[in-house]
């Protein structure tokens, strides 16, 4: 396990370097002079020159990239254009809200997707399976930027059960995390069902049955444990969609997280802040995938020895 962990950590390094280089290179895609776009055409030449120096645009790309990495090693991502505060500081104060939302969504997705998938697999051709299949397809096809407003309309405006927006107690978390969770819960339902169908055919399930174990215990304890591999994989892969989904969901619900920060930064053409947010989200995704791979290897010797 140790060598596998080491190998996997080493292989993540070039990916992290690539991801950060990619977020850094974003500025190169700005058509025309980025400084003109950030400050507007009418800005004073002295201000423009100062910003150009601050962003290193007067230096060659290679030198700038090296500067970016040396700054990164000190967690220095430059200053936000409008507020003049360090980018890392502005992002960090938004992180807890996004973690709260993402964890809420992950909790909902798992507690909907896994039981639904398990029941669909053990009750083949029943209405439960039909419902799970339909839920998988419709859930995957429903855009969050439509579901969000519809949930607000139904549960916050019409029924007045839950708050419309903003962060607060648990009741504030329900609608945004449900909006964010729908897609993942649909995929989890499909994957859990498919994986469980393979597993419940195995002999040990019959043995457990013959021993007189209660079916519920067999499904959710013994069989599910063996069906977890594809489920873990898909959670890791879909985590990126969950993270980027926060941009849309946070915007809909006025949630003060990294997603709304990124969206505001884009609107204000605050490129250093855009780069910082993009870098944080992409890095988190790489790290989560690393953790998923390690969890996968810990559970399955074939992976780490193969």
């Amino acid at each position: 396990m140790f060598t596998y962990t080491l190998r996997r950590l080493l292989s993540a390094l070039p990916v992290l370097l690539g991801v950060s280089a990619l977020s850094f290179s974003l500025l190169a895609f700005v058509p025309g002079d980025p400084v003109d776009i950030m400050l507007g055409d009418q800005a004073a030449t002295a201000d423009k020159d100062a910003l150009r120096r601050e962003l290193g645009l007067d230096r060659p790309f290679g030198e700038r990239l090296a500067g970016f990495y040396s700054g990164l090693s000190r967690l220095d991502l430059g200053r936000s254009l409008q507020s003049r505060r360090p980018v890392s500081e502005e992002i960090l104060e938004r992180v807890p809200a996004t973690i709260e939302l993402t964890l809420g969504a992950m909790f909902l997705a798992l507690s909907i997707g896994i039981p639904f998938g398990v029941l669909a697999a053990v009750r083949r051709h029943s209405w439960v399976e039909k419902a799970a299949l339909a839920y998988g397809l419709v859930g995957m096809s429903t855009p969050g930027f439509w579901l969000g407003p519809m949930l607000i309309l139904g549960f916050a405006i019409q029924l007045d059960w839950l708050p419309v927006s903003e962060r607060g107690g648990l009741e504030h978390l329900v609608l945004p995390s449900l909006t964010l969770a729908l897609g993942l819960s649909a995929i989890l339902t499909q994957v859990t069902r498919a994986s469980m169908i393979e597993v419940v055919r195995e002999d040990y399930v019959n043995v457990a049955r013959a021993k007189g174990l209660r079916p519920f215990k067999i499904w959710f304890k013994h069989a599910l444990a063996n069906a977890m591999m594809p489920i873990i994989t898909i959670i890791g892969l879909q985590f990126g969609a969950l993270l980027t989904g926060t941009v849309i969901v946070e915007t809909i619900f006025d949630w003060p997280g990294v997603g709304t920060l990124l969206f505001q930064a884009i609107q204000q053409r605050n490129y250093p802040l855009v780069q910082g947010c993009v870098l944080l989200i992409a890095t988190t995704y790489v790290v989560v995938n690393l953790i998923t791979d390690l969890a996968y290897a810990a559970a399955n010797p074939k992976v780490r020895l193969g």
Binding site: L22, P31, P143, F145, I157, A241, V247, Q267, A282, Y285
Partner: protein
Amino acid sequence: MKRLKPKFYIGIILILITSFLAVFAPQIAQHDPTAMDLSKRHESPTSENWMGRDQNGADVFAQVAYGARVSLRVAFTVVLLSAAIGLIIGSLAGYVGGWADNLIMRFLDMFYAFPGFLLALSLVAVLGPSIGNLIFAMCITGWTGFARLVRGEVLHLKNREYVTGATAAGAGPMRILTRHIWPNLFGILVVQMTFGMSGTIITESGLSFLGLGAPPTVPTWGQLLNSGRRILVEAPHVSLFPGLAILILVLGFNLVGDGLRDWLNPRSAN
């Protein structure tokens, strides 16, 4: 030959309905999607305006119909371009192998580590809103999936006996790829492209929803939803209908993709 399941045909019907709406938008919609009438803003659906009117008094149905044109055209372009790029680069990696494969795969890893929507979002954000930039950004994120898929299949196929036979008979690499390998990729490519359509439609609408997709002058579903969410109380119909349109079209492509996949690979259907 195994028969296609009903879900495939349901999907086809959903896609056809939306395509019909897109193609005949000027004939079906009795109103100009941009014609405003502030005296009738937020008006609920009537026999005159089937989906009501928006915050400017413009007809929602006309905007949904013209929005279908944008979504379908953008998605087709993105999926075709991404599949073509992915096919060429994936074949190169799989067939040539060695350093070319290594180089391409490391490059792909970098893109793969970037969540697709985030990359498209940040590219459109720096490039500025236009249909061309939208297509470019989504192709950049879209081709990697195709390249990976094609590489895997080519690796698997190039060691088959019939390919070795063709090589022994003197066929060059181009001939082997185009005549003996690519025809076998057709099925999985079509499945992947169908799912690519649904993914692209959601991404495009999501970007337009954030105001980063098509320019404001082009009516899109995402943009309609964006203005709709500000007037949820006064005019819920402005949010309801474009979202239903997205759901119908995306569900259509997902059903067709699912149906085709089961048909090509009956084991996956279990």
